[in-house]
């Protein structure tokens, strides 16, 4: 009797935890909802129908990105299926979770390939994606990552493509912006332990040298989950720079970096990259949100862009999930349509044929994040970026579009 009672208690506890997780983390609950929707259709990898595999961090530190990818893929696939599918075949999706860990990413990849999936969207972060690029080439599986920006991801990898620009471009845009805005002395705070942060720092430094900017102060943190940046920004303030490049992810920008930088006496511009996407949901209630003025970042697209393609995507996403899509969503949505274009061009969903169609420079793709074709050598698209800034009246943080840069001069 006692055993039965405690078992029931455990189960009740488990369910209440699920309920709590659903209540407090709205982004995280979208992932399972999308999972369920996607798996309602029979997931047949062979025979009729085309199966797309998705690898994303649905749990763990970057769960917001996982939800962004699974929802956008869900939206794109349901649109495609409603309009008759690809080559008359319905598309099904298999979602897998990489937990933001390279070893788990490899497991997810192997599991998808063993189910006969030949076309994969994923993974989201550079660190995880780099764990499976070689395996994708060995198995002959097309890997189209929505948002892994590290330069090294697609170098000389036949089967690996990405929907986003590479870090060498993204860091250069930030340096370009600093030059245009007239800052000669700049500082950098970055994370030495992360592929993304370090890659952006390298490309920013290279571009700064080209544009004649002087990097006056460099500080680093040892991991991405550090919660105190006061010393780094105090050093920036004392060196007198008015422009600091800080490539981090939203989960530290919102709660820690910006407010601590202002508290440490740094008043100049904080410039970031696409990892800042999602920051307004992560600011601390009650903190002085005017700190977020003067924070700029580069991104792949902006939901307020008046381009009709962007507007129809934002409207469709809002109708389906009741929230504004972020850049990762836009890129994942584009990735699915890139597969559609390539499969139609190749005439089949055979991975090798799709690979050739994607790599063909004449395959011009026009989507939410711009019009572009792949560079056949690097598998990286040539595309532009937007520069955004945060604006705050003290009670909430909003994002506004500053500039759209199509190419660097």
């Amino acid at each position: 009797m006692r055993k039965l009672l405690s078992l029931l208690l455990v189960l009740a506890l488990a369910f209440s935890l699920v309920a709590c997780a659903g209540g407090t983390a709205p982004a995280a609950t979208e992932a399972p909802a999308a999972d369920a929707a996607a798996t309602e259709a029979p997931a047949e990898a062979t025979g009729e129908g085309i199966t797309l595999g998705v690898i994303s961090p649905n749990t763990g530190a970057l769960a917001v990105y996982g939800a962004a990818v699974t929802t956008a893929v869900d939206l794109a696939v349901s649109e495609i299926n409603a309009s008759g599918g690809i080559l008359g075949q319905q598309v099904t999706v298999i979602n897998t979770d990489d937990q933001f860990d390279p070893a788990e990413t490899l497991n997810a990849f192997n599991s998808l390939v063993s189910q006969g999936v030949g076309l994969i969207v994923g993974s989201v972060t550079s660190g995880c994606t780099s764990a499976i690029t070689s395996a994708a080439n060995e198995e002959g599986v097309v890997l189209l990552t929505p948002s892994a920006t590290a330069d090294s991801i697609t170098t000389a990898n036949d089967y690996v493509f990405r929907a986003c620009y590479a870090d060498s471009f993204q860091g250069a845009i930030a340096a370009y912006y600093a030059k245009e805005a007239g800052y000669a002395d700049v500082g950098v705070v970055y994370c030495a332990a992360d592929t993304y942060s370090k890659g952006l720092y390298d490309s920013f430094a290279a571009a700064a040298a080209t544009y004649g900017l002087n990097i006056k102060a460099v500080e680093s943190t040892a991991s991405l989950d550090v919660q105190d940046y006061t010393n780094q920004f105090a050093s920036m303030a004392s060196s007198g720079v008015q422009f600091v490049y800080a490539p981090y992810y939203y989960d530290v920008i919102g709660p820690y970096i910006v407010t601590q930088a202002r508290a440490a006496g740094y008043t100049g511009i904080i410039m970031g990259a696409d990892g800042y996407d999602g920051t307004p949901d992560y600011v601390v209630e009650g903190a002085d949100l005017t700190a977020f003025n003067n924070v700029y970042w580069t991104n792949h697209y902006d939901p307020t862009d008046t381009d009709p393609m962007v507007q129809s995507f934002v409207a469709a996403y809002q109708a389906m999930f009741n929230s504004t899509p972020n850049a990762i969503s836009a890129l994942a949505y584009d990735a699915v349509y890139m597969y559609k274009l390539a499969i139609e061009k190749a005439g089949s969903a055979d991975p090798a044929a799709v690979r050739d169609a994607l790599a063909d420079p004449s395959t011009t793709f026009s989507g939410v994040t711009g019009t572009f074709a792949f560079n056949s050598e690097t598998g990286t698209p040539s595309k532009g970026a937007v520069i955004l800034s945060f604006a705050s009246d003290g009670t909430s943080v909003t994002t506004k579009l500053v500039d759209v840069i199509k190419e660097l001069k």
């Binding site: 369920a36 649905n58 763990g60 490899l106 390939v113 780099s130 070689s134 332990a193 040892a222």
Partner: protein, 383 residues
Amino acid sequence: MIKNRTAQGYLLNTVVIAVLLIGFAFFKGALGGGGEFKLIIVPSIWQCCYLIILAASLNLSLGFLGQLSLGHCGFMAVGAYAAALLSLAAERAGVFEDKSGTAFLLVLAGCIIAAGILAAIVGLLVGIPALRLKGDYLAIITLGFGMIIVNIINNLPFAGQEGLALGSASASLYKNGLGFGTALKVTYIWVAIAVTLVCLVMMFMFVRSKYGRAIRAIRDDEIAASASGINTSYYKTFTFAYSAFFAGVAGALYACANATLSTSSFAFANGGILNSTFVVVMVVLGGMGSLTGSIVAAVIMFLVNYQIKNGVWVQHLPAWLQNIFSFPMLVYAVILIIVIMFRPKGIFGSYELSLRNFFSDIKLQRQNRLAQKLESKEALRNG
């Protein structure tokens, strides 16, 4: 007929392991070495192998010595990076060309042993100051050391981001050095199994030796042990380093199996199954003081983690169950709570599964339980 019971046990274990390996070889032949076998079963065996070594090695210091260490993955990171860098250096020096032949196997063996030794040295350096503390304080200081080790590796110019973790460099570990791709993992599966068996034999021999008896005495009562003439600080430091050695070997296998290294995999806050807390969970789940328990728990935790995330059968479950399964950490927590509630000692307690004594142990346990029941009935009737 062999009269010596120890020899009987050795013979039985050898026969069973040989039968299992032959069965595996047949199984491999029957499946043709492709598809699911190559992509799921073999990588799973590799991962089980390093998790088993890791959990069993932590059991030496947590279960047998009674010192809680929360930085075990730090030693694993040392081993992984040491093995990977050594193998890359060996390839650059031209010792081996492609991943085959005697030269490569020798390099591989050398890398694995060197990884263990380096991790043991780091373990010794950590252990000398850390083991002056006890209980919670020791847990905190080992936690700190685990983080320090990972951060140092991060900032080494030849090992951190610049060296190995970047995409191109991880691809280079895939092509060069000791990283195994999908096909090579099948070819060299015997390496993982052999290393695991050797490590387990070494650990079993250790806990049954004079050292094992000494550290169990220290665990049960440190003052009594030192009063009986046991040099407690020597035995504690030695065991800590010995357990770090095997964590380093597990790291070397990790580098082989994943062909990519990133320090975030060994960090304390890693979201996956591989972090220092999780290894402690495996040991507690299996039973502190039971190496066979650690083996079983490592395999169970791996399978649970793998299956609820990647198992095909999950797609056929009702939607509400899938929603729970999309939070793997929740499922582990529930399993842990249930096990600790009904078996606070862990699955095996301090019992070692033994093939030789398996049936007699079960019989003995049943008799014990019957006797207990009778006793409690008697007590009820009398009182």
